[in-house]
């Protein structure tokens, strides 16, 4: 593992050189330089390429040695076999970190593996942090540093740090999450681990552990670089921040695919699953769950106990969520009498009110019924979390949705509120209105229950 101060030279460099920077808008050497400049990184940026004297308005240097100022981070976007010839210059320039975007290493076969080992050993001997090779880069939005070959035009700042043995979270998938019309997730860091010849998931955990801008950690792994050390560290990190782990290669076929993707070693998934549970990490089993969990954890506080209060506009959803909660470690608590009295005000006298509380007969009554019932449930001492199931149909549309939810959240800021919302155009409108309030909205009760259960589980396990 590397030291924290060294990791800082990667995430918070004072100056960056891009070896292989290009003016050709179809090349990775153009993308990454352009991305760094586009997001207004504040340090010095030096393009290095003997074929240009200037790129993007910046002076271009024929080699690292020609740069007069100091260089903290060097990004290589040149063919794999050429990289070693630049490494001695890195030592001369006292470079602290290297990011290798180039591919053609361990993932390509034995020759590439040898080259990777050679570069890895050189960096270790000279105390240079190496990220990659075969990494698509990283983002540290705390420093406006977007060192990736993917553009983020819709970047949304938030409390999540994510790293993976993949480029999709520094690229396409992240862009998708940030391009949603609403319920976008905000990130602070994203990083592609690549082949992990140097920097690996342990270093990432260690760095984000003490990072005040990060509240939630997400990892996508196909294997562990050093599982023993990973879990020993994760156990400590999770006391302060939840770690959501999506682990590929659960089956023999998955492992075979992972081996050709990242050279993952065989790992008994029963063993992995046991250790994830022992140490209180949160496991996601697919990418949908991965981001469902991220939404819950980054939007709302964890419930202090298992007691859920459900209010519903829909009978079928009421039955389903009652089953789902029964199967989970959560429980349906009986509401306090004063809460039930509030519900009753809006309903015919013959209707029996339990938990889940079915207030469907008041569906079209608009804001008052929702707000008063939600406030009552959120302030009910028998309840540790509230799930509200609402139906967003045109004839139940009403004004003041944003203000209503704002009031509800403010009335009980330490109690989580989840929303299950079903509908078409009206749902989209409602979602736009509550954008930014950090209420996690799920399309089905099952997904909401799963996330809330994971948050309750984390609350119990975090201090162990």
């Amino acid at each position: 593992m590397i030291s924290l101060s060294q990791a800082k030279t990667l995430f918070e460099p004072g100056s960056i050189a891009v070896v292989g920077a290009s003016a050709n808008p179809k090349k990775a050497g153009f993308f990454i330089l352009n991305s760094i400049l586009m997001h207004k990184y504040e340090g010095n940026v030096y393009p290095v390429n003997p074929n240009y004297s200037e790129i993007n308005g910046l002076k271009c240097f024929p080699s690292l040695g020609h740069i007069s100022g100091s260089v903290d981070l060097v990004i290589f976007v040149i063919p794999n076999t050429v990289i070693p010839s630049h490494l001695h210059e890195c030592v001369n320039k006292k470079v602290r970190s290297i990011l290798i975007i180039s591919s053609g290493f361990r993932e390509s076969g034995p020759d590439g593996a040898r080259l990777e080992d050679e570069i890895g050993a050189f960096c270790r001997e000279n105390n240079i942090l190496l990220l990659g090779p075969n990494s698509t880069g990283f983002v540290n939005s705390s420093r406006n540093l977007f060192a990736t070959i993917n553009y983020f035009k819709n970047w949304l700042d938030g409390p999540i740090a994510i790293a993976g043995q993949t480029g999709i979270f520094t690229g396409a998938f992240m862009d998708e999450i940030m391009s949603f019309e609403c319920q976008r997730l905000g990130f602070n860091k994203t990083l592609s681990l690549g082949n992990r010849a140097g920097f690996d998931e342990r270093d990432f955990l260690e760095y984000v552990w003490k990072d005040e801008d990060v509240k939630v950690v997400m990892l996508y792994l196909e294997s562990f670089k050093n599982p023993r050390e990973f879990f020993n560290l994760a156990r400590l990190v999770k006391k302060e921040k939840p770690i959501i782990l999506l682990k590929g290669g659960r089956t023999q076929q998955g492992l075979t695919a992972a081996r050709s993707h990242t050279g993952a070693l065989a790992e008994d998934d029963l063993l992995v699953d046991s250790l994830i549970k022992q140490h209180g990490l949160i496991r996601a089993y697919d990418i949908e769950e991965f981001f469902d969990l991220a939404k819950g954890f980054s939007y709302q506080p964890c419930p202090r106990g298992p007691r859920v209060g459900v209010i519903t506009m829909s009978g079928a959803n009421m039955t389903m969520i009652a089953d789902e909660i029964s199967y989970s470690s959560l429980v349906l608590a009986p509401y306090e009498e004063q809460t039930i009295n509030v519900f009753k005000k809006f309903l015919p006298p013959w209707q029996n009110i339990l938990n889940p509380a079915d207030i469907g007969l008041a569906l079209t009554e608009g804001r008052e019924v929702r707000e008063r019932c939600l406030l009552a449930a959120m302030n009910d001492n028998n309840v540790d979390a509230v799930i509200f199931i609402d139906l967003a149909v045109e004839n139940s549309d009403f004004d003041g949705i944003r203000e209503m939810y704002k009031n509800v959240l403010e009335s009980s800021p330490r109690k989580p509120l989840f929303l299950v919302l079903q509908g078409g155009e009206t749902k989209k409108k409602w979602l736009r209105e509550i954008e930014g309030l950090n209420i996690p909205v799920y399309p089905t009760t099952g997904r909401a229950v799963k996330v809330l259960e994971a948050m309750y589980y984390y609350q119990r396990k975090k201090d162990r």
């Binding site: 599982p227 023993r228 046991s274 250790l275």
Partner: protein, 234 residues
């Protein structure tokens, strides 16, 4: 840890090593477990040419008879475990049959036969592994068909404490069985947890051990007993 007989466990392992072996036979494995306070069922060794008469005087029926050979991994699959033998006559018959079978299958390294008391209870499996990448871990699972078909097992990194041992048991799909469902007696889960804690100490102390496999660990109201065991060295 002070109550463990670590010296003796190390002596047993050294003796196996000196014979160029890496697999401890059942008797050696159980002796090591005993050094770590893990309860094993009463067993008596008889040599390859010996009869069972003397041994049977010290055991209560029903008894089990097994071959003793570090070379055979799946004894019962090959027919080298005979259970529920209720009298001397059937013991002699099964022993003779097993000897003929060993000859027929040309099993060279037969160190003898083990006679032991049959124990009633729920079958679990327990173990420990010192994995190159994951380090020392302990394991518990529902035995018999559950482990093979459902793989209902749970691991934990050693060292473990009582809380983790408890969590391991409660996370098994077969936990209802351990809590006494469909049975008049309640299996002694405290003793199961004790086995796990002791396995954790064992795998951390005996660094030459690569794997400990207790299959079955039989648990009833009074105890958790290692009925068969195999230890493999690095």
């Amino acid at each position: 840890m002070s109550t463990y007989d670590i010296q003796n466990a190390k002596r047993i392992i050294a003796a196996v090593r000196s014979q160029g072996r890496r697999n401890l036979n059942e008797a050696e494995s159980k002796d090591v477990l005993r050094c770590f306070g893990i309860h094993v069922n009463k067993f008596i060794l008889i040599g390859p040419g010996q009869g069972p008469g003397k041994a049977l005087k010290e055991l209560n029926f029903p008894v089990v008879i097994k071959i003793l050979s570090a070379d055979i991994i799946h004894k019962s699959d090959l027919g080298f475990v005979r259970t529920n033998l209720c009298n001397e006559q059937s013991v002699r018959r099964e022993l003779d049959e097993m000897k003929r079978l060993a000859e027929h299958l040309q099993i060279n390294n037969v160190q003898g036969y083990v006679l032991q008391e049959h124990i009633n209870g729920i079958e679990l499996i327990a173990g420990a592994i010192n994995d190159e990448r994951f380090g020392p871990c302990v394991m518990i699972g529902m035995g018999g068909i559950h482990v093979e078909v459902y793989r209902d097992v749970r691991f934990a990194q050693a060292p473990i404490d009582e809380y983790v041992a408890d969590e391991m048991l409660k996370s098994l799909k077969g936990r209802a069985i351990l809590e006494g469902a469909r049975s008049k007696t309640r299996p002694n889960s405290k003793k199961i947890k004790q086995v796990l804690l002791r396995l954790s100490d064992l795998i951390l102390t005996l660094t030459d051990v690569r794997e400990v496999d207790i299959n079955p660990l039989i648990v009833n109201e009074s105890d958790a007993t290692a009925v068969d065991a195999r230890i493999t060295l690095r």
